[in-house]
């Protein structure tokens, strides 16, 4: 801590007038934009190299997810895999070699990107909607509504969400798609969002401007939407970026376990699952999809760090 260093001056200290140009302090710059949390956050984030690194990586990942054909050398949906190339070494046009079925590893990874990214985004939409509803009503209305909603949250929170997803996906074994797996993950992942929001709303509710709005006779729902929610959303955004990474890991884990997506869907988890049997002889077919998965998760985790630090002045001090 820098303020631990004792001041060289002791006793009462009165600054000489010329040291404190009062004129400058009094002059209010009317046209200056008033600073708020979001502007401060942006100013803080853009100064950090990891913001730009993770941002670029995320943009690249999203572009790959949207137009995989720009990057892939072959289209794994139309191109037949050749068994004669099973576990083959890299050749021209196939930079990462071939899988056990003789498919191009690189193109499968490129086309698998959209699966991971889609699951990540669908899950955070689900967890944010459910988390906002439960967290906002519980925190804002309090009383028995809070008690009831919080108990429901506790129940969902008490089942580790990957285990819950394993059960759901086992039951839905005939309907395995990006949508069902996102539902299976999101259905049990929302309570952490709700808890964060509830705690923040309880804090914001104490503010003077809320009391002022109440005194002015503003309706409850309007106070919630206009004043409370916008001021308590920051920690939710920070946790959402990290949840996105967690959802991508969850999908890969479920696919790796064989209860995730069906074999016809390109997914890094599926590829890792297929490659695991040959790890001793052909570790490369396992390494590449794992690397793609880890880099994607890493990018979102890094971004989550930046967002959290930027939106939370307390976290900024820890840096």
């Amino acid at each position: 801590m820098s303020n631990n260093t004792p001041s060289p001056r002791t006793g009462h200290f009165v600054a000489p007038l010329e040291d404190t140009p009062l004129v400058a302090i009094d002059a209010v710059k009317v046209d200056e934009k008033p600073s708020n949390l979001w502007i401060d956050a942006w100013r803080d984030a853009r100064r950090r190299p990891i913001f730009w690194i993770s941002g670029l990586l995320i943009v690249l990942i999203i572009v790959v997810a949207l137009v995989p054909s720009l990057f892939a050398t072959v289209n794994p949906f139309t191109e037949k895999c050749q068994l004669s190339l099973s576990n083959g070494d890299p050749t021209a046009g196939h930079p990462l070699g071939f899988t056990k079925q003789g498919c191009d590893v690189y193109s499968r990874i490129i086309f698998g990107t959209s699966t991971s990214v889609s699951v990540g985004f669908i899950v955070i939409v689900l967890t944010t909607v459910l988390g906002l509803l439960f967290g906002a009503f519980a925190g804002f209305y309090g009383g028995w509504i809070d008690a009831a909603l919080s108990r429901v949250g506790d129940i969902f929170f008490s089942i580790p969400y990957i285990l819950a997803a394993v059960v759901i996906m086992s039951v839905l074994s005939q309907y395995r798609s990006i949508w069902t797996i996102s539902l299976a993950i999101g259905l049990f992942a929302w309570p952490s969002t709700a808890r964060v929001l509830r705690a923040e709303i309880l804090r914001v509710k104490q503010s003077d401007y809320i009391t002022a709005s109440e005194a002015l006779g503003v309706s409850k729902i309007k106070i919630l939407l206009r004043h409370v929610l916008p001021n308590s959303i920051a920690p939710v955004i920070a946790i959402t970026t990290i949840s996105l990474a967690a959802a991508i890991v969850a999908e890969a884990t479920l696919s790796f376990l064989g209860v995730g997506l069906g074999g016809s869907i390109m997914s890094w988890g599926n590829d890792i699952n297929q490659a695991q049997r040959d790890i001793r002889v052909h570790p490369q077919t396992l390494i590449w999809p794992s690397l793609a998965l880890s880099i994607t998760v890493f990018s979102f985790i890094l971004m989550g760090e930046v967002v959290r630090d930027a939106l939370d002045p307390k976290a900024r001090a820890l840096r």
Partner: protein, 309 residues
């Protein structure tokens, strides 16, 4: 204290019924035949289906099924596995192995995590701190099955330092590598938590007082700073038990550790739905009990917690 225990146990009751109901509901209230759905594309023996129907009382209305199922749990009956062995019998055999693995992992992650976190926090912004931050972010980004396979390949296959699969009886030296893999997931979180907690504590008045009293750093760091920084870390270890359970499932599966997690893992990859449901229920109940016990211990250790309504 008695009031606190009573309140906390009372709170656990709706959660117990809620979680078991939720799991049961997810499986047996789905349209269609739940037993057939659980087997996916496999077609089980009609005799097995008939036996499972009886076991889960599928001829009764849903709510009666659930009550009978809960009654079974209270009598210690978690159903029968796919191979016909009672789940409780499998648990008796596999549980000690998982406990050994989990304790080993807990020791590794807390000792290493707290040590690295403490040094990081004391040297905020220095080289050690920034490298620890980068390493912990990378570790957080690696899914546990990737870490497990890389460890198995590098240390087991390439270097030959450890056995790639655990032998029967799960001797302790075979469990070291799986335990390190299992510990790596939470290690990073513990480092970060300890670090921020140490930084926060170091700035508090009582630490400044200790310094100004002329106490040595050797005494201040362990007694004043570390001890007071550990509270959030211990809390984290308890809530992290769920992560440990999921991690144990994957790690035990990959290293073939004969524990509870491996039983679940094998059931999942073989698509033996009913066994999956039984073991997930067992794990969720375990998670509830651990959280309850930790909360009660907290009330014992920290009076502030038991006084807060």
């Amino acid at each position: 204290m008695a009031g606190y225990i009573f309140r906390r146990v009372l709170q656990a009751i709706p959660v117990f019924f809620g979680t078991t109901f939720l799991i049961y509901f997810m499986v047996f209230a789905m349209p269609g035949d739940p037993i057939v759905a659980l087997f996916g594309d496999k077609t089980p023996n009609p005799a097995v289906i008939e036996q499972l129907r009886q076991q889960y009382h599928l001829d009764q209305p849903f709510i009666v099924q659930y009550i009978l199922y809960i009654g079974g749990i209270f009598r210690g009956d978690f159903g029968t596995s796919f191979s016909g062995e009672p789940v409780t019998q499998i648990l008796a055999r596999t549980f000690p192995v998982t406990i050994r693995l989990a304790v080993l992992a807990l020791v590794f992650q807390s000792v290493a995590g707290i040590a690295v976190g403490l040094v990081s926090g004391l040297r905020k912004g220095k080289l050690f701190d920034s490298s620890a931050l980068v390493v912990s972010l990378i570790l957080i980004s690696l899914p546990i099955f990737v870490i497990a396979y890389v460890a198995q390949y590098v240390f087991g296959v390439q270097l030959g330092w450890a056995r790639t699969t655990v032998g029967s009886g799960a001797p302790l030296q075979d469990l070291i590598l799986p335990a390190i893999v299992l510990a790596s997931v939470s290690f990073a979180q513990i480092v970060r938590l300890t670090r921020s907690s140490v930084i926060e504590t170091s700035g508090l008045d009582f630490v400044r007082t200790a310094y100004s009293k002329g106490l040595s750093r050797k005494r201040i760091v362990p007694v004043h700073i570390l001890r007071n920084s550990l509270i959030p870390v211990v809390t984290y270890l308890a809530t992290d038990f769920g992560v440990l359970l999921v991690g144990a499932t994957v790690t035990e599966g990959i290293f073939n550790v004969p524990g509870v997690g491996n039983t679940l893992y094998q059931a999942i990859i073989r698509g033996e739905g009913p066994t999956v449901v039984s073991f997930v229920t067992v794990m969720v109940l375990l998670y509830l009990v651990v959280n309850l016990v930790v909360d009660l211990l907290y009330g014992l250790l920290d009076p502030r917690i038991r006084l807060v309504k």
